[in-house]
Amino acid sequence: MTEDTTETELDVDALQTKLATVREEVGRRLVGQQQVLDELLACLLADGNALLESNPGLAKTLTVRTLANVTDLSFSRIQNTPDLMPSDITGTEIIREDATGGREFVFEQGPVFANVVLADEINRATPKTQAALLEAMEEGQVTAAGETRALPEPFFVMATQNPIEQEGTYPLPEAQMDRFLLKILVDYPSVDEELTVVDRYTGRVDEAIPVEQVLTREELRDAQRLTREVPIAEDIRERAVELVRATREADHIEYGASPRASMALVVTAKARALIEGRAYVSEADIERMARPVLRHRVVVDFRAERDGMTPDEAVGELL
């Protein structure tokens, strides 16, 4: 048993060391945005999907691509436009000639068949295409040409949307927003960070700074399993649930969060505990993850919106 304990410590410690290394490796390409990176990592560990919201040019694609690189995950990108069809995402059957001149239908996989899918500007796709993508991330499978095909594991969708230029967009309905584990806001970097970005990416022709692969897919699956096993004290778990329930009764919130949010809050808090090198969830984890978990699941009422209250502020008041 003593040996088991030692082995256990090594396992968890090794994983936490690797997670720290992932942060370092991504940091070689990404300047600042540590909070965004931690939330994306939490999303990976919790086996969830993320919605990133920011203005253009804030390295969302670079972040997600780098994260895929250091975790040995395949990466694909979908640039959503109004004329994008569901089959453009899921794939379609095409007629292919073989060497003997015979013809057969072959399923050509769409970009959704990757471990990490970056769906850029998802709110520019039509609701039908959005639904196909959201079904893929909810079910982990797609149906094309009358056949259901499983997506690779692990499977993550990192969707982005632009808070400005809402002309000609199709905002995601609340029910579909709820399927994203986290909504991550990417803010502008500080002056020093921006200077570093300029220095780093204008001093060389090859913009692809090499990063090392740190986590294998199997290790990532193990990390996801360990994340679910992180113990949480009963009172802290109750606090998380009470917080989510409070969104349904708050005066300035028109629609509160669903029980799915309670699960999301607890599991992402567990992921953050693991990232922080702990083997238990603290109240700080709950408070830290409350906004990204809840900000897209609550709708502030008209009066609060008139007063300029954001969902983050509404959640902050409940905290």
């Binding site: 304990t5 410590e9 360990l226 113990p231 949480i232 004290a233 083997a279």
Partner: protein, 290 residues
């Protein structure tokens, strides 16, 4: 209260082999230490209340109905209620949370380990948590549970109240009257009067308490005319006004007639002390003669 660590292992090999059992043992140990830590300040505060109540009873010389020890029993009961109430308030908060509050370095880890052990969690991460918590508990101390400063201050208060109580009992200092056997007041608590009315004290007494409070007395309004007749006595050889007076046998006979005026007087209880006043006068005269 010991300063021992609260890891609950105490060198027990059986618990050391099973981290979950060791955590459960540590939680039990924390619970025991928390109970002891809650009892210490509650006990001291109870003693303070007992002494304070006893002192107040002695100072106001209040006598409760029943046997002589009724006052002491009431003070002890009050102290017991305070001690019990404070103890109950202290232990209402879960012991592990109190232990964490006393040892901020532990944060939420013992709580999580306690709940995980209670739920039977034996996963890799849970075992890592158990080992981590046990390691950190070895460096923690249950002595932090006791509010040392407050207990020390209360202990000083206990000493002060004890000294004051002894002083009041030995010096006979009192602020209020003592009920005598007849149900009336019989002077202050320090006059040596016992409950059955026997006055064992024969020394000088407080004049104000004997004569009552000094009050302004208004003139009496009941006027009565009376004429006292008498014959003039023999001639005297002095020229004082009394020389014009005449005496008949041992009676004083004024020369003329006077209008008598009756003086007003205060409450009848002062008049009842005439015997004491007379006794004082006699003693003063004896002292003067000597």
């Amino acid at each position: 209260m010991t300063d021992a660590t609260a890891d609950g292992t105490d060198g027990d090999d059986s618990t050391a082999e099973d981290p979950r059992a060791a955590v459960e043992g540590a939680v039990k140990e924390i619970r025991r230490e928390s109970l002891k830590a809650a009892a210490v300040p509650a006990l001291v505060d109870g003693v303070v209340v007992l002494l304070a109540a006893n002192l107040v009873l002695a100072l106001v010389s209040a006598r409760l109905p029943g046997p002589e020890w009724a006052g002491l029993a009431a003070a002890a009961g009050l102290g017991l209620v305070v001690a019990t109430g404070e103890f109950a308030l202290q232990v209402r908060r879960p012991p592990v949370e109190r232990f964490e509050a006393a040892n901020p370095d532990l944060r939420e880890a013992p709580r999580a380990a306690r709940d995980a052990a209670a739920a039977g969690a034996d996963s890799v991460v849970a075992r890592r948590l158990y080992a981590d918590v046990l390691e950190r508990l070895r460096a923690a101390s249950s002595a932090e549970l006791v509010p040392v400063r407050r207990v020390a201050a209360t202990a000083v208060l206990v000493v002060v109240l004890s000294v004051a109580t002894v002083g009041v009992a030995a010096g006979g200092i009192g602020l209020g009257p003592v009920v005598d056997g007849d149900g009336g007041t019989n002077g202050p608590a320090a006059n040596g009067t016992t409950a059955d009315g026997n006055n064992s004290y024969t020394g000088l007494q407080d004049g104000d308490s004997v004569l009552g409070a000094e009050t302004n007395v208004s003139d009496g309004s009941d006027e009565t005319e009376l004429v006292i007749s008498g014959t003039e006595g023999g001639a005297g050889d002095d020229d004082t006004p009394t020389s014009n007076r005449s005496y008949e046998s041992d009676r004083y006979v004024p020369e003329g007639s006077y209008e008598a005026q009756q003086a007003g007087y205060d409450a009848p209880d002062d008049v009842q002390n005439a015997d004491i006043i007379r006794e004082y006068n006699l003693r003063i005269r004896e002292d003067d003669d000597e």
